[in-house]
Each structure stands twice: as structure tokens, then as C-alpha cells.
Symmetry: C2
Subunit: 227 residues, 2 copies
């Protein structure tokens, strides 16, 4: 295998480490951390909201806790994923399927909104929630992959001292995350819900096609012959 620019993207595999945790470091952990937590400048005492409790939203949830926010609202359509978020440290769960998620967040924050709203879905509706709940002086950190334009309410936001950021993960934080994993303060292996042998990869895809029903987050494929 030839890996271009390997100096910037390959890291030595620490022996005797939890392999599955390290697989999570290849993409979703640095994505959530760099695009969501770092761009959102999460700091101690902040009230933050994460819109989307899929694997990347959960990666945001795990890494946001490095900086000790006071409250973490997790917003999703799926109660199963919200329950996982609760186990992972979310302080408040909001099921957005009734269309009132933004209203609930504003009530819970006594009209102030959140310091950081992190978009981890990539849809106009979820981006709209972030705009509706960001506090004056707050940050909207986009993590989701978007396929179409969104409406930006500049008529409401122009004087609110907010920032909106976008970023493509570049994994520059992988060495840092590796240290946190090794310290035990971050356990990304918890994101792995299913395991398949490489020969059963088609079954893995079928299962992921019903991810919500199956309660699936991340799937690890194992090369049995190698083991």
C-alpha cells in the first residue's frame, strides 16, 4: 500500500492499545472535535447544544466534555440515539420530531439561548434550529455535510455578535486525541455497536441500512484470517 503524504496522516500504533477505540480516531473523533468543539470554542461553564446524535454528533458530545461545559443539550429525532447520548454525558435530551426543539431550548435557557450550537446533521432544518437557539455572542459550528443551500436569517443575526464556522476535518488533532484515549479520559470504543468479519461485509451493510431500528452506531469489520 502506498500512502501519499504519510508524514502528516499516519501515526504509530501504540502496542496493547484498544484497537477498536483507535479505529474511531481515524475519522469521527477528530471530525467532531475539530469541526464542532474547537471551532465552537467550547469553554468551561458554557451551555451547548448538539443537533444530531449520530456517531459524529456523539463524537462531539464526548470531546466537548474535555472543556467542562455546564450543560449539554442533545437534539435528535430518535429516542434510541438520545438514550445513548444520555449515557455519554448529555445533560438534557430533546426529541425534535414535534418541531419544537428550538422553542424548548429557549425555554430551558430562559430566553438566552446556547453559547455554542453544533450542527451535526447537514440539513436546512437542523441548521435552522442552530440559528434559532444561538445566544448573543454565541457560535454556530457546522459539522454536517450539506447538499443544498440554507436560509440564513441575517435580519435577526446581523447585530447578535455570532460566528458561524465550517471545516473539513484534517485530523491535525489525532496525536492529542490519542493521548486522551491512552489516559482513559476518552473511550471512543463505546461508539462500536456491531462487529462483523470482513467476509460478512454485505450483512454489515444490510444492518447499517436499518441503523435506527438496529440501534447501530459504528461497525467494526475484522479480518479474521489476520487474527
Amino acid at each position: 500500500m502506498r500512502t501519499p503524504h504519510a508524514d502528516g496522516s499516519l501515526y504509530r500504533f501504540p502496542p496493547a492499545e484498544d484497537e477498536e477505540a483507535l479505529v474511531m480516531l481515524s475519522d469521527i473523533l477528530p471530525t467532531g472535535f475539530e469541526c464542532g468543539v474547537q471551532n465552537g470554542r467550547v469553554k468551561p461553564g458554557d451551555t451547548i447544544a448538539i443537533v444530531g446524535a449520530g456517531p459524529v454528533g456523539l463524537a462531539v458530545l464526548l470531546t466537548a466534555q474535555f472543556y467542562s461545559p455546564a450543560a449539554i443539550f442533545m437534539i435528535d429525532l430518535d429516542d434510541k440515539r438520545l438514550a445513548v447520548a444520555k449515557q455519554f454525558g448529555a445533560t438534557t435530551l430533546i426529541n425534535s420530531s414535534d418541531g419544537h426543539a428550538a422553542h424548548q431550548v429557549m425555554e430551558l435557557t430562559e430566553g438566552a439561548g446556547v453559547d455554542v450550537a453544533i450542527e451535526a446533521v447537514g440539513l436546512p432544518t437542523t441548521f435552522a434550529i442552530c440559528q434559532a437557539i444561538v445566544a448573543a455572542g454565541g457560535r454556530i459550528a457546522n459539522v454536517g455535510v450539506h447538499g443544498k443551500p440554507v436560509e440564513l436569517h441575517m435580519e435577526k443575526l446581523w447585530d447578535r455578535n455570532i460566528s458561524i464556522t465550517t471545516r473539513l476535518v484534517d485530523t491535525v488533532t489525532t496525536p492529542m486525541l490519542l493521548k486522551v484515549v491512552r489516559s482513559g479520559k476518552l473511550q471512543p470504543g463505546k461508539l462500536v455497536t456491531h462487529r462483523f468479519a470482513m467476509n460478512d461485509i454485505m450483512k454489515a451493510y444490510d444492518m447499517l441500512g436499518n441503523a435506527a431500528k438496529e440501534g447501530a452506531l459504528k461497525v467494526v469489520l475484522t479480518n479474521d484470517a489476520h487474527r
Copy 2:
């Protein structure tokens, strides 16, 4: 006169100072500087674009030069205002009335776009120009007052590592700007194009109603009786 919270918003008038320059410090200079230059994080060597060459856009132009950008594109519909921008330090003038301003900026930057795009108008079309010309890793700093939503092209921007900021001026930079004015490095008095006695205030409004035709930027009203 009663001034609430005067400790935070009143500054001692330096004797023998250029009064007209100080009038410009009351609003447009800190607006351009705080919302445009500081939020846009203009730094030495940057290529920046200012969309809108009205008084606030020109205030951005004047204060952006504190940080020695390499190139300053000034974009406006009015050649008269662009000519003023040239005198104030713009390096490239672009008249956007043909609808090709963004295209021109991309050509002039060899496809890279600008490090900082500063919106000093407050319309969907001018905000669209900023989105079209911001480079990967760049900043869009909004200064304009918007009255309606804008379309945000997240499908193009989600992976471009950009930031968009909004801010209402709070004049926290007034003491700093006052020092720069006193040093002679900033001459905001140049923004004053017309002067009227207070008694002629209706004439002043009539003239400003034709600001483009009159080549008007800022108007100073003087209480003659006091002088």
C-alpha cells in the same frame, strides 16, 4: 443632558484636536473597525475585499490598513465612491453594476479568492458576493444592517474552513482609535464632504437624499452660535 452608563461610552475630548475627525469616531470608525477588521482578523499580507464603499465601507478601508494587508479590493456600484476609495488606499477598484464582481475577484486572485470578505451594505446580493469570493480558510465579516434572510451556500462552504461573523458595534475600540487619530496615522476627517449650520439641517437632509449625485459621504452640522 443625562447619559446613562456614561463611564462606558464617554471619552474626554482632547483639547486642540480636529473636531470633525472626532465626530467620525462616534460611530462609523469603530463600526468598520470592530465589525469588519477585527472580526475579519485582517493580518499582514492578506488579500481582502470590501463590498460597499459607503462611509462605513470606507471606515473599514481606513482601519484595515492598520494591519498591512497586501491587496484591498473595493467593490461598489458607484464610480465616484470607488474613486474616493482609491484615494483612501484601495489597491483595486471593481464596479459591480455588471454583476461580474465575484468573477473578477476570482480572476484577479487566480482562483483562490480573498482571505477576508467584508460586507458593508446589508443586502442578499452583496452577501452573495462575499460567499462567492471567500478563499478556503477565509473569513466573511458582516458589517451591513440586513432586513431580510440571505441564501447561505452551505453545499459549497461546509468543507471550506470559513467563518462568518456578525457584530453590533459597541465602541470598545474608541480609546484605541483616538490614539491612532492623535498620532496622525488615521485621518477620518477626510470622510467629511459637506458642512452645514444647524439651522440649515433641512438643506443637509435634502443634499444627503442625493448623496450619490452630490458625492456626499459624511455631513457635519455646526452650532454656529456656540462657535
